[in-house]
Amino acid sequence: MSDRIGIIGIGQSAFKSRREDSNYPELVREAVALAMQDCGLGFDDIEAVVYSLSPDAMVGIGNAERLGVDAVGAKNKRFLRINTGGSTGISSVAAAYFHVASGACDVVLTAGADKVGECGDSQTVLNKIWDPIYERPLPLGTISMLAMSAVRYMHKYGMSEEDMARVTVKNRRHASKNPNAHLRKECTAEEVLNSRYLCWPIKLYDACPQSSGGCAMILASERYIREHGLDAVWITGVGHCSENYYLGDRMSDTARADHADAFALKNSFARAYKQAGITDPGTQVDVAELYAPFSNTEFHAIEAAGLAELGASPAMLREGQFDLGGRIPVNPSGGVLCTNAIAVTAMVRVAETALQVWGRAGDHQVKGARRGIASGNGGDHQFFGTMVIEA
């Protein structure tokens, strides 16, 4: 694989709670149109489409990629759908990447949208990801699952609720500079700490919103990019890694992986870093868009990415090291904590990282960023996708 693979077009919605003005395929088309406009290609130039769609029940349409097929212009083309839960979007970019890397295609579109706000209660849907035999009778949801991760992280490393609040304050401040973010109002640590408990220790302001919007990206081979004189940034590392299934298997003195941490995310990053030739991410990475739907999970993402030692990130965050203008800005877009349209959330991480190293991130641009990383977490630790993007 000597040729590199480039990102040549990006489109994303301005994410909101609801989009009554657009039905589902119209929302997908909005993002696709923006990405096509961004790269200047036409639908005839696209050879394959990877459709980004997490659980059907979230949009309430079985195999809704069928309904989206015309919105992405996939008729008579290679067309497949990816669903890896929360990491669906980065997995879709990876699938598009491998279409090009294999030599099968020169130009591939990946796109999707979500309307989480139309689902009466996303936790009802997400409760269904658990085993109906041993786990489903318990009121598990993604909030309670990651609240238990927070409890173990607190126990192991001494994280406080104030540490969690600082993540929200940072990300809301970043989101206020990003016109596409959903929650753009800045908040104080007191507001976070005074917000109501959802699942202890996670409070309302420690949690992501339910967003509606779409995202699309167009990838191409280096040869095609050169021949057509296109502008691009480059995907130089792609990683994936899975953890075992049962939550309780990651909780004991003898467990190989601990539910406090994101062990498999670390392995996923190691794979992406190896491909990209990164040996010391703490000094070689300029910007990070890390999947973290709850404030506490940003800490284990930062640590899994190798930007901090295990348990060290709360103190570094307190010092401002992960702020815009800090040593390694984390989630300058405001991150998942401020915008979560589940089907495309992890694609937005890749898109935002690409815009950063392209120098096109606008008011939330990290000055001089040349190399960035993105991640996505799906399921209960089964799908960790990571990427390195370079100018």
Binding site: Q123, P137, G141, M148, C199, G248, A255
Partner: protein, 153 residues
């Protein structure tokens, strides 16, 4: 023009097969108020709840082992927010490493005043000893909700 919406409801019934291992596990809970795990022959780990094969060695488990009733809290949360199709809050649940087990099993924590979140969380801190409590025999149906955990005095 007024933008319109349309309400849809999914209500689907499934009847899931539990398989031999889980069926035996639930039979023992229902009939004998005992919690059993399965031992892996290659590394000796006792998987609770029992699995027919190990997530680590990937080999078939080959021996039933009784675990508990005592154990230690490995994780908990206290839910204060109502969610559709989930119980009325507040409620506390989490994972317990039962004595003799290598993995933790989920269950409710009962007998704790949850009205003050901080004080309730202190009582459930990781490492706290708990005991397994079972419903009366007539009320047990063969389900993980046939048992729960209470903090040991």
């Amino acid at each position: 023009m007024e933008l319109m919406t349309r309400k849809e409801v999914w209500n689907i019934t499934y009847n899931h097969a539990l398989g031999k291992t889980a069926s035996e596990f639930f039979t023992q809970i229902k009939e004998s108020a005992r919690i059993l795990g399965r031992r892996c022959p290659s590394d000796g780990r006792v998987l609770v709840p029992p699995r027919a094969f190990s997530d680590e060695s990937l080999e078939a488990t080959d021996e039933w082992v009784e675990v508990g009733p005592g154990g230690r809290i490995e994780a908990f949360t206290i839910t204060y927010e109502p969610f559709q199709n989930l119980p009325e809050p507040p409620y506390a649940f989490g994972y317990v490493l039962l004595d003799g087990a290598s993995t933790a099993i989920g269950g409710y924590f009962k007998g704790i005043d949850l009205s003050d979140p901080a004080r309730a969380a202190e009582k459930l801190v990781v490492g706290t000893r708990v005991k397994t409590c079972f419903a009366e025999e007539k009320d047990r149906i063969g389900d993980v909700l046939d048992f729960w955990f209470e903090v040991q005095d």
